[in-house]
Amino acid sequence: MSSPAQAVTAAPAAPRARRPARPAALTAVAALIAAVLALPLVFLLIEASSSGLHEDGSLIFRSLTATLLWNTIRLTVVVTALCAVIGTAAAWCVERTDLPGRRVWAVLVVVPLAIPDFVVSFGWASLSSWIQGFRGAVIVMTLAVYPLVYLPVAASLRGADPGQEEVARSLGTGRVRTFLRITLGQARGAILGGCLLVAMVLLAEYGAFEIVGYQTFTTEIFTEINEAFSLPAACALALVLVLLSMVVLAGEGLSRGRGRVSRSGALAQRVSPPQRLGRARWPVLAGFVLLTGLALGVPVAASVYWMTSGVRPSLTGVPLLAAAGYTALYGALAGALATLMALPVALLAVRHPGGLARRVLERSTYLVLAIPGVVIALALSYFTQRYLGGFAYQTGPLLILAYAIMFFPLALVGVKASLARAPVSLDEVARSLGQSRLAVALRVTLRLTGPGLAAAFCLVFLSVITELTATLILIPTGVQTLATQFWAYETNLSYAQAAPFALVMIAVAAIPSIVLGRFFNRSADPGMVT
């Protein structure tokens, strides 16, 4: 199967321009999904306008705003840069080198994404009072969100054509230059996508900053809701966040620029001989031990400490297993739904680029990531209660839809990066070889996009595990997830009872990484691909 694929790579993207540019059905579905994702934005506008321009203005244009703006921006820039470096380096080492214990690291490096903010920050804050303010926020957030860069980059490196690197090397290009120009070039879309996610997640982060005492726009939004009962004011501030995220989106769009992501030879995917680390092996290994030690060891140690320091259980709650079951169920369904919803939007963006309207449609779906979860949940509450007569309110399906909306951009980045590697020309080749449409979809498109789809699913699944504020509003009455039960204990000083829930969250987070890791190791087997 690799020979037709390589034949196709010889013919570049030229014919694409001649294709009919209006895929009506796909556009309609994508527009419908974008409309659902726009609901929280509509809610923000409705609420913010209810308090009047004057009030919103005096809330936004006050002295604290400048501080909040500066705090938010400098944190976003520093943490995004750090995550880009750490996430990309870790992904490259795991996917492309002979790093000892690659499979184990592949699981361990993504788990920090599923540790609740409170556990991470409290673990750190209880280590030393040095971990406070800007410094504390940078450390805690970098260690919590670098997997958002790691996952898409690893997926993209896994699917990339090692042949290009070999060609470059055979032409006498040095190792470092090859890495910088070819490898990073191949992963560029994924790196930028990951950075976009990091920046936008930072804009909406709350729990961690509260603990390290760092004020941003989002902590202020929560203050408005938690103290002042002022949902309109909170929504007015959230609109500023949306504007900020538009700046981030524009920045990402510009830096993506016209640099073409290589689409060649996706079917030529095969196991490349891993780069030998040689003498660098031990320092790199030490780096991984340090990274996972800090990102994983500190919160786990804090949880274990709590578990052993309490004297008696004082509260009743749901059993650990029941909470874990609901968490996994909601996470898996939300991951699947978000990935499916991302497919049409990604297909439109990747296969039918151009056209301002369609580009705006795709970009608009990212904005939801910068809106705090509590606002998204209240938006769904508003619309279901007002326009659907309360249909499905506080039921599992609506909660899953809420998760899929909140974390849609995470899925979109994964799906887009992988679709870019499955050029439509390959579908056409397969069809011309007599394969049925279904077979093409399953055997060509799905196989090529598999790693990206799996990364998309994982990103959403991991994020759902720790989601709290929206869950509390929308969860069916009487049901507890790991996060809500952890919160119930933790806010009541029952740390000893809370700690096992934190540890199980970490364990549940490891499951998809392990399963998918095994899946990829098998499907990357040379015997199966060729």
Binding site: L26, V29, G213, F229, L378, Y393, N492
Partner: protein, 351 residues
């Protein structure tokens, strides 16, 4: 060529629609607990601690046969949620730790009048002046301090002294905590606006580096020696002691001078939503909250460490009896929804 290319798109479209349909319709029953309550079931939106609610709810269910479906969240989010849900709110009763959330809902016209008989169980000064919520229990603001960092003699006698530069680096503050607002309101009432703003600026400077998200954090940080002292509601200290054991308590509590604006009673209360279709059952729950049985659970049979305020029940746990407290005379009506305090906290840059 076009037809072929559409293969993937159409497949994806169908798959998306299928999954959406399944999620929204098919597994609705499997994934959720039925949300249509019968008349023998009420939904409680609770901002109270489970230490207080768990046993009360169980006793009520046993006594009346009415099922109580509890949803817990921060009381402020619950209040916003009820406003957003509007006429169809699933909530029948809201039960909060502090009065401002109830005052807020009352001002919005969302609360039903409480049965007069229920109101008489609680002293009138702990009920809503408009009779739309009933006081259930109370707490008092105290100083928590770590004797290895500050001696009892060095502690402030008045909350106004917290702004004294000599406490720089020693004070822990949770300005965003619901329990701090009433103190600001009391200071504002006692000393006026200008003095309150100066005072807030002073404590902000003194608490730099020790500004925490909530009273729980102040309690644990002072206890482990990260800060010398702070202001909390008394029950956090007792709960930490119950949780970790007396041996690991490295902190103590102290009171402000009698009638000081820092010496404030916070009232926890409950109300029936006007929109509730289960008015009778909801009113019964309120009546039960202030009954002797529920008040004794709060005062004697739970780890709540709040003061019962109704039916003449007294608390067993906090050493200082409720009648011996000498708080600032501010009323729940004067505490209101706390918006004046919030405006000042914002002006000082603490919110």
């Amino acid at each position: 060529m076009t037809a072929r290319r559409w293969g993937t798109a159409r497949l994806v479209t169908l798959a998306v629609l299928a999954v959406l349909a399944v999620l929204l319709a098919g597994c609705g029953n499997a994934l959720s607990i039925s949300s249509d309550g019968s008349s023998q079931s009420i939904t409680l939106y609770s901002g109270q601690h489970p230490q207080t609610t768990d046993k009360i709810v169980a006793a009520f269910e046993q006594k009346t046969g009415i099922t109580v479906r509890v949803r817990s969240d921060d009381e402020d989010v619950l209040a916003d949620q009820i406003v957003t849900e509007g006429r169809r709110s699933p909530a029948d009763v809201i039960y909060t730790e502090n009065s401002p959330a109830l005052e807020f809902l009352q001002d919005r016209g969302l609360l039903a009048a409480v049965d007069p008989a229920t109101l008489t169980a609680t002293p009138a000064r702990f009920n809503s002046p408009q009779s739309r919520w009933v006081g259930v229990s109370a707490r008092v603001s105290v100083i928590i301090y770590n004797p290895s960092l500050i001696s009892a003699g060095q502690l402030p006698r008045s909350v106004m002294q917290l702004a004294d530069p000599k406490y720089q680096g020693k004070l822990a503050l949770a300005a965003g905590e619901t329990d701090f607002q009433p103190i600001v309101t009391a200071v504002l009432r006692a000393h006026g606006r200008a003095a309150t703003v100066r005072w807030l600026n002073g404590i902000k400077a003194n608490a730099a580096g020790h500004i925490y998200p909530d009273n729980e954090t102040i309690t644990s940080q002072v206890n482990r020696g990260a800060a010398a002292f702070g202001i909390i509601n008394q029950y956090y200290w007792y709960r930490l002691r119950a949780e970790t054991g007396a041996a690991s308590m490295h902190s103590q509590i102290a009171y402000f001078a009698p009638h000081d604006p820092g010496y404030v009673i916070d009232v926890s209360g409950a109300a029936v939503l006007k929109s509730s279709p289960h008015q009778a059952a909801a009113q019964r729950f309120l009546a039960f909250l202030v009954s002797r049985q529920a008040q004794e659970i709060i005062g004697r049979d739970s780890l709540s460490y709040e003061y019962p305020v109704a039916s003449g029940v007294t608390a067993a746990a906090p050493e200082t009896p409720f009648r011996d407290l000498r708080p600032d005379p501010i009323t729940v009506g004067q505490l209101g929804d706390g918006s004046a305090a919030i405006a000042l906290l914002r002006q000082a840059g603490l919110l």
